[in-house]
Assembly symmetry: C2
Homo-oligomer: 310 residues x 2
């Protein structure tokens, strides 16, 4: 029995322009940490939350990590245990980078590892999903699955946990700009029209298909042509100041694709080299600086391990 | 200079349940033949059409093969040539099996081969498309490209000839039932509602993505789960007598997927062995026999060569 443990969970970029509610990719910067320690006092206590702690409740019944941990402990017949948690949030909540998902997968992996791994990682999904649904109100898995197992993932049907890893060629990096504006996943979802034209559907699904083929072949041009979003992005971009200018800068500097991560406001740019990703992250940041707006930027490689114990 | 030549063009199954206007697969049965011979008398003459010749005009200005041949000869500066054509249609027009596309690719490859191949096969697409548009009024390429180059093809954007071959595992066969009813591509298209829900789009595109992944991995279960059409099939199936009964029989006998080929009325069932495909074709045919309706059935393997000279 492990008395204390640290677990790290990666951020994730979902949608990826051509895969609304279907595609997600884990990236290694930023990532969350959770530290757990068994205690003699029954119940879960969140001792501290550091980092981007805004809007993160300390009460375990309202905290995503707490909800996930409790659900899993109950499932394993260990609900009488005492557990102290410390959470270090590097992934801001409401960023579009899967912050809720990472909190959930971190807690699920933590409990599983502390109990000497009674479950496979795959079996942790329902518990992590339960935690995330509380936060976002929607149940897609396009952040949960990549955060949990890493890599680029297609969700075919989250209800049956039918998801699939997509091969990615080496050398891909994400440049991410995180504007300092708050968008709730719920409201970003509410503004979407509920119907699309048949023609839009054909174009969008063809792009998703050719994106997968491009990844399989390592055909960067094809990946780039496929990363177009004519449906969701035009409806959400108005929520993000200067989105078009940022996107234009990223693409003109050679990003393979650039769009809104999840419900935003994070803007991602997929790039083929770390140096280029770094230049592009700086240039995107520069757009915000010019307009005297606050933002953070990151450069992350694809995380292939998902949520792991240290 | 070749004085006379025979060219064979395969049929094709398009849409494949999860890829409306995007996916097409060439199959080797049935296939069309066209025989061409240079003549000293300028102009194109269609000397005969045999086989399923119903509704196939002999006038070269109205005949798909004639239109395609003329467009290509003009492009190559050979419009003063005399050409006699004999066409043997094994693919019935209005079947949903790409009959128009095969007529067009057959003529394009014939002219190109008879002139000692001045163009790559890829460069023949615009001329074959021109011929097909005349017939169907729509320009998708999901029959033209598979018929021309063979295999399972995803069309990303036909306007830029952006199409991609999808790997297929060995051992796949198509059982096809062709009911003796006439459906025009135009009317089958007109009945489709012009909008789909966002949720339907997500499910359909996820299925297209996982279909490609399944093909890449040779994961037959995944291919089977992905071959679902909740959008187009429910709107078109009423045009085909006893569609649901035929589909039910095919799936209960182990077909990986079963739906309408293109605009119908052909019903395809993708199967993993030739014997099984043969059993399933018979069982589908049997449904029609029980209801005293005429139909034909075929079993075809995937054609990987496309349209070729013999």
């Amino acid at each position: 029995m492990i008395s204390g443990l640290k677990v790290i969970a990666p951020a994730s970029v979902s949608n990826l322009a051509c895969g609304f509610d279907t595609l997600g990719m884990a990236i290694d910067v930023p990532s969350d940490e959770i530290i757990g320690k068994w205690s003699d006092t029954p119940g879960i206590r969140i001792l501290e939350v550091t980092g981007y702690k805004k809007e993160i409740p300390l009460s375990p019944e309202k905290n995503i990590a707490g909800i996930t941990a409790m659900a899993l402990l109950r499932h394993l017949g260990e609900e009488k245990r005492g557990l102290d948690l410390k959470i270090h949030k590097h992934i801001p909540a409401g960023s579009g980078l899967g912050s809720s998902a990472s909190s959930a997968t971190a807690a699920a992996v933590l409990i599983n590892e502390m109990l000497n791994r009674p479950l496979e990682k795959r079996d942790l999904i329902p518990f992590a999903l339960e935690g995330e649904v509380t936060a976002s109100g929607s149940r897609h898995g396009d952040n949960i699955i990549p955060a949990l197992i890493g890599g680029l993932i297609l969700i075919r049907d989250i209800e049956t946990y039918d998801y699939h890893r997509i091969y990615t060629p080496p050398g891909l990096f994400m440049a991410v700009l995180l504007p300092d504006v708050m968008i709730s996943t719920r409201s970003a979802r509410d503004i979407l029209r509920k119907e699309v034209t048949l023609k839009e559907m054909v174009a969008q699904s063809a792009n998703l298909g050719s994106f997968i083929i491009g990844m399989n072949l390592g055909d960067l041009d094809l990946i780039s042509r496929s990363m177009k979003d004519h449906i969701i992005e035009p409806q959400r971009k108005h929520l993000i100041p200067y989105f078009e200018e940022v996107q234009q800068v990223a693409l003109s500097l050679g990003a393979l694709g650039c769009s809104i991560s999840g419900a935003g406001p994070a803007i991602f740019a997929l790039c083929q080299e770390k140096l280029k990703a770094s230049d592009i992250a700086n240039a995107m940041h520069e757009v915000y600086a010019r307009h005297k707006l606050d933002a953070r930027s990151f450069v992350g490689s694809i995380n292939h391990e998902g949520t792991i114990a240290m």
